[in-house]
């Protein structure tokens, strides 16, 4: 009897005309996504859909899946409301209630709707498979296609059905339910920057890498769905509790339902508390929201204090063993410390969240440590901070043993960070070893990394060499003199290396796609040679250019003697034709990051230490100005003036114009009226325009005024005077002195 009713009702839902229309539409939604994708601006796909990567895989899988999920959500809101409204519309509730329980009816309806959702999802998978095959060329990575479609599209449908049903049962009104669901959808779009768990429709999946595995994308996707399910379940169960009994009000029905179905309130309480439990136990990131970022940026970042009474008297030795299939690392840190004060001294050290301390020894005796609360120290919000006590007048070895899974900050939402099966990305020094806050003068960090033999380890500093290899585990060496800039990347890399006038240039490309990346090796050499000629040789003896995972995509950065560039930015076409130039041109990004080796790596451009009044209020004067302008010079040399002008100069002009027209730029006194979030976004805009538009155009004005030859001569002078001199900074006024250009000319161009 019960099953008969169940199957009958499911069949009825599936047979209704409206359901069929919705299923048919939902089948086609991903296809519609593909068709409209050329018209979507990059802003929409990053801001609303949360896709940061432009690898082929992400564009073929995620874009249609996410658009499909958004549209299916809308369609299933309509369908669910339609189905649930039937009882009221046909005024049959008083007939049904005595025959069958309302719970059974609701659950049956849900089951029928879930079936409809499943049919449309599977159908869309079938429709989109040829699209996948045509774009990728094979069925490699097809499992990601299936996972994405199932969890993104079907997941959003399931959550939509449960939430819509819950709200409908709660409010008994079609319009209110639709409005609330519409805001729930908006919330998913807007709150994603706070925490990826809030993206209940489109999920936080940012992209798929083609060569480096996918990091935590799939666990993130699953966690998204788990959190969404607990929330949707709570709403649905609460709705069921409030389901009006015939001729009874809200509270009477609630009480009656609680009495009638004892398990229902229990289920509700369980799912309600699991919402908080799931939210707080998010396994991938250390929770640090965009709000924290904003407040830290506005209040000024406070670092862990350095105790200068204690001196590091030996180099820092680190041995790290990475078990990438367990997402686990075990490390030992050793350094000799000297406390010459007459009192015991407390010192601090940072370690990434996710690591725990196994043992700390000082002078071969175990000592106690305490973890500092984030309330006391701002830096403890980002990573774990520990405090230990060094006895007076001693000089002995500190020995810290630690292990665990280092976590990235949630504000970044970068799922490629961490230790993963095919790819290791530890981008903060405290992800690798404890950062001990004592006086470290000219001390280097060195040691070994043990990792699976298939992976190549890349770290700042000298060439990383294989020391030994046994049982499929390789031991790599590293040493670097600026431990605060140390990071570690490991993956299946091929190396293209050349010795160019005394510098080892190493280009690390994904081994699996060596064909596509081969020509890029020569590009890097071109760029390197151009800058070496025009500025001066790179002193470090070793330059590494690393292609990184495209899971987050679109980025490049420089740290120490490594320039990083994401695989997706390198695989976009580089246009020789100026009419096709775009801001996302890959050659420009690669060149920019290599130029940072001189501007930022060797020479430090800042007004920070200058007392000259000319340098006041010129915070656009940074390394970015020269890195971007050097990119212009290289592109002009390689592709011609028209191309470079179009790609960069015009953008700087536009950006500077926007900056100077901005109200808060013209009236900085109003900045203090802003509350934190708008202040953060206004400062972000002003900073971005200053760094990447006003700064480069200032340098361009000087260049334009004195001519190319004089400019390069000035570069040689600057190189000789500032390169590799740590305490000498190139300020705006000094640059004007060297080039002999008046301030007005540099700023206004005339």
């Amino acid at each position: 009897m019960r099953n008969a009713f169940f199957t009958y009702e499911t069949k009825r839902i599936l047979k209704s005309r409206f359901t069929r229309i919705i299923i048919l539409l939902a089948l086609l939604f991903p296809l519609i996504g593909v068709l409209i994708s050329p018209y979507l601006s990059e802003d929409i796909s990053t801001m609303i859909l949360g896709i940061h990567s432009s690898t082929r895989l992400s564009q073929t899988i995620l874009l249609p899946a996410k658009i499909g999920a958004v549209l299916s959500t809308l369609a299933f809101i309509a369908l669910t409301v339609f189905e649930f409204d039937k009882i009221l519309r046909f005024r049959v509730n008083y007939i049904i209630e005595p025959i069958s329980s309302s719970i059974k009816i609701n659950l049956t309806k849900i089951a029928g709707l879930l079936c409809a959702g499943l049919i449309s999802t599977v159908g869309s998978m079938i429709i989109m498979t040829p699209h996948y095959f045509i774009n990728i060329g094979s069925l490699v990575g097809y499992n990601y296609f299936l996972i994405s479609y199932f969890f993104i599209i079907y997941g959003s449908i399931v959550l939509t059905i449960l939430m819509t049903a819950g709200f409908y049962l709660l409010f008994r009104n079609v319009n209110i339910t639709c409005i609330i669901m519409f805001f729930a959808l908006l919330f998913s779009f807007l709150a994603g920057t706070m925490n990826y768990q809030y993206m209940w429709v489109q999920t936080g999946a940012s992209g798929f890498s083609e060569n480096f595995g996918n990091g935590n994308i799939v666990p993130g996707l699953l966690w998204n769905r788990l959190f969404g399910l607990t929330v949707a379940m709570s709403i649905f169960l609460f709705g069921m509790l409030c389901d009006r009994c015939y001729e009874k009000g809200f509270f009477k029905s609630l009480i009656k339902n609680c009495k009638k179905y004892k398990f229902l309130p229990i289920c509700f309480m369980f799912s309600f508390f699991s919402v908080f439990f799931v939210y707080h136990n998010e396994p991938i990131f250390k929770s640090f929201s965009i709000l924290d970022t904003a407040s830290m940026m506005i209040s000024g970042k406070s670092e862990t204090p350095v105790n200068s009474n204690v001196i590091g008297t030996s180099n820092m030795l680190v041995d790290l063993k990475i078990e990438e299939d367990k997402h686990y690392a075990t490390g030992v840190y050793r350094q000799e410390l000297q406390n010459s004060a007459d009192k015991p001294q407390n010192i601090y050290f940072n370690l990434a969240d996710g690591y725990h301390i196994n043992e700390i020894k000082f002078d071969n005796d175990p000592i106690n440590y305490i973890q500092v609360s984030p309330k006391i120290m701002n830096s403890a919000k980002i990573s774990n901070v520990y405090e230990i006590r060094i006895p007076k007048n001693t000089k002995a070895k500190l020995d810290i043993r630690y292990s665990g899974t280092p976590k990235a900050l949630s504000a970044v939402n970068d799922f490629s960070i961490g230790i993963n099966k095919d790819y290791v990305n530890l981008d903060k020094p405290y992800d690798i070893a404890p950062a001990v806050y004592v006086k470290q003068k000219d001390k280097i960090m060195k040691g070994t990394i043990k990792i699976d033999a298939a992976l190549t380890v890349i770290m700042q500093g000298n060439k990383n060499r294989k020391i030994s290899e046994q049982d499929g585990v390789t031991t790599w060496s590293f040493s670097y003199d600026k431990p605060s800039e140390l990071s570690l990347t490991a993956g299946r890399y091929g190396i293209f290396e050349r010795n160019v006038s005394g510098t080892y240039v190493e280009f690390f490309y994904p081994l699996a796609a060596s064909k596509e990346f081969e020509s890029r090796g020569n590009d890097t050499l071109d760029i390197f040679t151009f800058f070496s000629d025009k500025f001066g040789p790179l002193g470090t003896g070793n330059l590494k250019i690393v292609v990184t995972s495209g899971v987050h995509g679109g980025v490049g950065y420089q740290e120490g003697n490594i320039s990083y560039i994401a695989e997706d930015s390198l695989m976009k076409k580089s246009y020789g034709d100026s009419s096709q130039a775009s801001s996302s041109d890959t050659f420009a990004l690669l060149t920019h990051e290599i130029a940072h080796q001189w501007w930022g790596g060797g020479i430090d451009v800042t007004n920070g230490s200058s007392n000259n009044p000319i340098d006041k209020n010129h915070d656009e004067w940074t390394n970015e100005a020269f890195a971007d302008f050097s990119t212009y010079l290289f592109l002009k040399n390689k592709f011609g003036k028209a191309y470079a002008d179009n790609l960069l100069l015009n953008q700087w002009k536009e950006g500077t114009k926007d900056l100077n027209r901005n109200f808060y730029r013209r009236n900085p006194q109003y900045m203090k009226k802003l509350s934190m979030i708008p202040k953060y976004s206004v400062s972000l805009f002003l900073r971005g325009s200053k760094l990447y538009a006003l700064g480069p155009i200032t340098v361009y004005n000087v260049y334009h005024h004195i001519g190319e030859d004089n400019y390069f001569n000035a570069m040689k002078v600057i190189y000789n005077k500032y390169y590799d001199k740590r305490d000498k900074k190139l300020s705006f006024s000094e640059f004007l002195n060297i080039t002999g250009v008046a301030k007005e000319v540099a700023i206004n161009g005339k």
Binding site: F663, R666, K673, L674, S675
Partner: protein, 244 residues
């Protein structure tokens, strides 16, 4: 007699669950919008410029019209049809009855709009001690009115054909309110794209603020929307009163 019906209808709308909830959402949204978005100024203009105020009006208008359209669906619901069957027998002329109902809807829109505008004035007064509110009259007129007339007219027209058509029209308007058209005012019902785009191309005054000048085709487009809305409204009215 009519004023009694009007009062009754107005009360019915204002005390309905849907109106209360959407009203709260609207107020909440206005506050958030003002304190996080408008305070930054649209396209680099000052937060108290006419352009920024236009942007604020565009943003709230989308939600206000959503409320309006949903209330419109009530006019064409089954219940209402049944009521009509009864009222058509009474002495009350159907035309007047319909007119009062529409008037009640319009009044409810105006009430929400006035509340939002009051909130914005309080915001400007307290945050920027700005009180040259007469500048905002033109934006209120040019942003709210044409869009309102157009959406109301089309909703009435589609609703008079069938309720489903009206329900289908709601998501279309929603999508139109979310997409921003830069310089094609004839597509841009809500003028969202226009008010964000124009300050970036217009010349600036002595303070560096982009001047508030509306282009001819924009004004034409507003007139067109108003006209179309009015024609459709009259058409639907004729149709509805004939129906019975």
């Amino acid at each position: 007699m009519e004023s009694k019906i009007l009062k009754y209808e107005l009360k019915r709308i204002i005390f309905s669950k849907i109106f209360v909830i959407t009203f709260i959402i609207e107020i909440f949204y206005s506050v958030i919008n003002l304190y996080t978005e408008i305070i930054q100024g649209v396209s680099g203009t000052s937060p108290f410029s006419q352009w920024s105020y236009c942007k604020f009006l565009c943003d709230i208008n989308a939600i206000m019209l959503l409320i309006l359209m949903l209330s419109c669906t009530g006019l064409f619901s089954r219940n209402e049809q049944r009521v009509k069957e009864i009222t058509s027998c009474t002495a009350l002329p159907t035309k007047k009855y319909l007119a009062t109902k529409c008037l009640a809807l319009i009044l409810s829109y105006i009430i929400v709009a006035i509340c939002c505008i009051l909130i914005s004035l309080v915001f400007y007064k307290t945050t920027f001690s700005f009180s040259s509110f007469q500048n905002f009259l033109l934006p209120i007129l040019i942003i709210l009115l044409p869009t309102f007339v157009f959406v109301f007219g089309t909703s009435m027209f589609l609703g008079s054909k069938s309720q489903t058509l009206l329900y289908a029209w709601i998501p279309v308007v929603l999508v139109l309110s979310l997409v921003s058209f830069n310089s094609t005012p004839f597509l841009d019902i809500f003028a969202k794209g226009y008010v964000a785009y124009m300050p970036t191309v217009l010349p600036v005054d002595h303070l560096g603020e982009p001047v508030f000048r509306l282009s001819l085709d924009f004004i034409m487009s507003r007139l067109l929307f108003t006209l179309v809305g009015m024609v459709l409204y009259v058409a639907s009215f004729k149709k509805l009163s004939r129906k019975i």
